[in-house]
Amino acid sequence: ELKEEFTRVLTANNPHAPQNIVRYSFKERTYKPISHVDQMAIHFTLNGNLVPKDSDEGRRQCARLSITSEKAPVETSAIPSEEAEIKDEESRGDTQAAGKEEAEESGTAEAAEAAEEEESPAPRVKEQKLANQFNFIERASMTLSNPMQERACQTEPTPRKSLSAYANQWIIYDAYVEEIQKQEMSKEKEKTKAPIAKREAVKKKGRKPTSLESQSDDITKISKAAKIIERMVNQNTFDDIAQDFKYFEDASDEYRGQQGTLLPLWKFQYDKTKSLAVTAISWNPKYKDLFAVGYGSYDFTKQGQGMIVLYTMKNPSFPEYVFSSESGIMCLDFHNDHPHLMAVGFYDGNVAIYNLKKSTSQPSYRSSAKAGKHTEPVWQVKWQKDDMENNLNFFSVSSDGRIVSWTLVKNELVHTDVIKLSAEGTTMQWPEGLQLQMLGCGTSFDFHKKIDNLFLVGTEEGKIYKCSKSYSSQFLDVFEAHQMAVDSVSWNPYHLKVFISCSSDWTVKIWDHTIKTPMFVYDLRSAVGDVAWSPYSSTVFAAVTTDGK
């Protein structure tokens, strides 16, 4: 390997010169390569000052030089006549003519000769002498000049295209007629589209509407068709699940006795809610496939954002609407008559109304600190019938012990405290004799289906209060229901006197509101989170516990 020979070639090429230069030729409208690239590299330049003898400047310089060379020999001969010169100098002063005369005047022959010879050197000498007389000294300097560097740049020529057309009366006329026809067609299509949209069934073949306008309108028109197609694709994918949804009947149910089967049908997931807990779920009363899910966090230390996400069963892969908020959502409720309005309660005590028809992600109306929001998380909100002025109103219950009725008056949420939950038996006595009322913390409530004024409130202390909207300070009745917080109360939709309550003390109790003791008690061996009556049977209810059963 050491014996390998490496050949090195010395070329005369400039290593810094580019190898291919391209110039744009306007004549041919293309880029053409230059055939020969300059290989000269300049290392040092110095501007010389040699002047050719034959040029003007050269000749001038020669003349000057010859004059001075003539002066030299003349001077040597003029030495003896120096005296005369000095004499002449003194006497001459300025003018040379006067000097000449004086020279002649001074004259001995020698002096005259010398003077004649002097004439020619005299004016030259005079120049020199004059210069010296005025003490001119030649001095020259030159500043450092920056070395020059060549730099070239070439922009890209602007792109061009050509067009050819013909303008004529009949062409213009035809164009106008065509345009008018198009406009009429589009008007007709709009009229026929409107009734079709109302009759739109869920399954419709994706028809891409023809767009007559410019390109920017295409996207908005396709969005509707794209939505329908997305739903169709999802239903085709999950077709067997949709079949199960409608017709599920497990034959093995007969043999299992007490246990039934619960088939999980769809899983609705959304990326942005991954870290949040589902805190509330509610079905839309009008659109049976739409349901809203509220996201928040039960953990006091982990309060972050909240979201409301609405899914439809027709499209299980992506939510229909998403709203986000700064505080976690605790509960939500759809309005029965206005299915696009949702009341929402937050962890920070605010309530808000979201309008689904509007495309903004902000609530339409929102309570604020000065408008009487709760100071504790709002556990439940429920819509009421419109009051006498046809304003929407809803109730909310929260841990700060107040039940507040919110009314939507002239685009603002107005609150009225309906009732304060005072925990009986815990009024404290201050030394001055003041009595402070401790407020209990409300956790859930429910309104009677028939008697509108009557409602039940469950508290964290385990008591259930029966209250009426007309009495704001007094309860109608108190039930010592549970040992721990009451998580949910609910009236039976069919037996008007019966209600059910569940609590973290592992029990579910069924009551008759005229009797103080529960009629039935179910012990479920773990804390019960929520209980609900079945809508079609008066004796069936469902309960969920914290161990997942």
């Binding site: 602007t158 295209k161 050509s162 067009l163 057309a165 303008a167 213009i172 164009a175 106008y176």
Partner: protein, 106 residues
């Protein structure tokens, strides 16, 4: 007489219906196109008898607004073959019988 009366009415109708500005071919970005169109309509209405002054007005305004070297042709019957800078062309009809072609090429 009735025929000519009808003919006149038709003509008036045609003029009314067909006088809106109709873009035949356009290569400009949206706002530029709208401005150029408005400018052409204004100029043609102002100098309805004199195509040259209308063209002059359009060309000078376009030069001021969008850069140098615009070219404008207004007429009722002409053919053309032009080279234009991309995204700087407007060819439209107006007034039922006028054709306006505006392009930039420096």
């Amino acid at each position: 007489m009735a025929d000519t009366g009808e003919g006149k009415k038709e003509e008036a109708d045609y003029k009314r219906l067909h006088s809106f500005p109709l873009i035949r071919h356009s290569d400009m970005p949206e706002e530029m196109r709208v401005e150029a169109m408005k400018l052409c309509v204004t100029a043609c209405k102002k100098y309805s008898t004199n195509n040259e002054s209308a063209a002059k007005m359009i060309k000078e305004m376009m030069d001021k607004k969008f850069g140098s070297s615009w070219h404008v042709v207004i007429g009722e019957a002409f053919g053309f073959e032009i080279t234009y800078e991309v995204k700087n062309l407007l060819y439209m009809f107006f007034g039922g019988n006028l054709a306006v072609c505006v392009w930039k090429c420096s």
